[in-house]
Amino acid sequence: MPEPQSDYYSQLGVSRDASQEDIKRAYLEAAQKLHPDKNTAAGETELFLGVQQAYETLSNPKRRAQYDATLSPEEKINLPYEYKIIYSRPNLVQLDEPQMLYVILDLQTPLEARRIPSPPLNVCIVLDRSTSMKGEKMDMVKSAAVQILRNLRPQDILSVVAFSDRAEVIIPASYHQDRSRTEARIQMIQPSGGTEIFQGLEAGTKEVMRSHDAKRVNHIILLTDGQTYGDEQKCLELASKLNEHNIGISGMGIGEEWNDIFLDVLATRTGGSSAYIAHPQDIKKLLLKKFDALAQIYAEDVVLDTKELDGINLSYAFRLQPDPSPILMDEPALRLGQILQDTSTRVIFEYVIQPTAVKSDLAKILDGTLKVSISSKPLPTPPFRIHFQRSVSDNPETDTPPTEILQALSRLMLYRMQEKARAEIREGNLEAGTRQLQTLAANLLTQGERSLAQTIMLEVEHIQKQEGISDEGSKKIKYGTRALFLAPPKKELIS
């Protein structure tokens, strides 16, 4: 399938008005990936030569001007995905105080690509076999693993690693034609020992790296029921390394002991997410669902590279679907996760806009570059320059914000309330924390979410008696409010 010829600017992933510095930076970045000494996939050398040529032309102002004259203004870039931007209001207002703007970015697999076979998997299940897993939990995990093995397509690669304070490769990364022996190996896993996540993660990485292939979905699923001690930093460093190789991590915590904050950070570093499994009976269902989602991946490693703009502050980012999760904001490159074939990826951004940014008629909110990697396409997808911008007017508009924004925020407000309450409680401000939880429960009631509201009120009682939040309640509240994003609204919004 011939890709349409793109112009020099889109080859470098910069806008037409990019500065010389931008162009140089984009070139260096592309060169690092595509240089013949480094690249792996066929065709990347050709792509590098294209980038080289683009840079040579654009880096020279005289040649650039000549080239610009040949460009037709409406040239549209042919993107391998569809995108939609929804703003909370049509324009910003000239104000002497800060103002808020919410923006939803929606990324979707184009229709014609929804039916192409999804890329083959290269997945390692890293499972906790520590003593605490004994009994129902272990049985359920084993039965889920066997089920996954049976569901594999011939082209999929699976490995299984079990860890306690050391790791053992139960099934090395391979295709699985003869399943009876592999199934027997899974059945033989016996629980014993403590929990050292790094051991498991490291062994899992080795397995995935053995058959690592850009044309596959390379992924690690980490299942644990406990806390890891002392090796968190090593785990996070490993996660960053995995991310460079485009290997995602999904964390799944069983029961109440595990460290959800750590697992969240670990997974979001790779654009993945964590999930909470309250009851052992749910292990199988959730694990199989995760596998289904992996087999549906169209694009991976969706990264929005943001540039700092004067007076614009991104204060919060949250993925609304497919896997509701906060987006890590510790670096300018925001990892948005994956784009599935049948569900769009939706992220909401909250911006605080300072008066300095609304001085002119047009306020630039985001000047970013969107990068994705699509396993089914042989050549790397060129980065796409994306802008959020709003015109500035003197008077505030009175339009009702779009339903998508209202619906998303009515849930996000609940999630953030529990985030705040838990933070207060962790810092010992029990009173403030419980008050927030009570407000949260009241809000849930007005939205018709009775059972979650009840869970919260029970936890409030617990906090008042025990002077602290229970591990179980804390996770139920966090993942319960996250699950709201996927549920249809119990009460309709009227507009």
Binding site: S88, R89, L95, Q99, N443
Partner: protein, 169 residues
């Protein structure tokens, strides 16, 4: 800046939901806040006559409230504790029994006014720090103090008079 009508928190201009209490902010169409309890109660009321006798159905109701001004009777069941108050748009406060349809606002009923509880042997009423007070047979109750209720007692939330009809007590 937008000041939240519910908690007075100062929100940055353009905010859609108060960051402190979650109330949807002004300048925006509000969410529906019709309460489930209210629906149930009005449904229950449809085929109830205005008799002052303790109603026989539903069978499991342990207490009924006779709203003396309107003559309506609310049989209550399924729980042992009911908060009474007035629902107001866009506010997260949810009384179990919403008295809005009975002129609650004009009668000075607070949003969360009082609670009626069944304890092992007795039924009690407690004022929840309401603005206009709760009266038992004309006597003003101290807030947050439980007082026992007898069949036929008249509780007034502000000016809204309610006769308490206990079943089998």
């Amino acid at each position: 800046m937008i000041i939240c009508s519910n908690c007075q928190h100062e929100n940055v201009s353009g905010t859609l939901f108060c960051v402190e209490c979650g109330t949807q902010l002004d300048g925006v169409e509000t969410l529906t806040t019709k309460s489930v309890t209210q629906d149930q109660i009005t449904d229950d009321l449809k085929d109830k006559s205005a008799a002052v006798e303790p109603p026989s159905s539903p069978a499991n109701s342990w207490i009924s409230l006779h709203l003396m001004d309107s003559g309506k009777i609310l049989p209550l069941a399924s729980r042992t504790e009911f908060t009474m108050g007035r629902l107001s748009e866009g506010q997260p406060i949810m009384p179990d029994i919403d008295l809005t349809p009975y002129q609650a606002y004009a009668s000075g009923v607070s949003r969360l006014h009082a609670v009626i509880k069944r304890e092992s042997e007795k039924t009690v009423v407690m004022d929840l720090g309401s603005s206009n007070g709760t009266y038992l047979n004309g006597r003003r109750l101290n807030p947050h103090t439980e007082e026992e209720l007898k069949h036929g007692d008249v509780v007034a939330l502000g000016k809204l008079k309610i006769q308490v009809l206990l079943r089998n007590v």
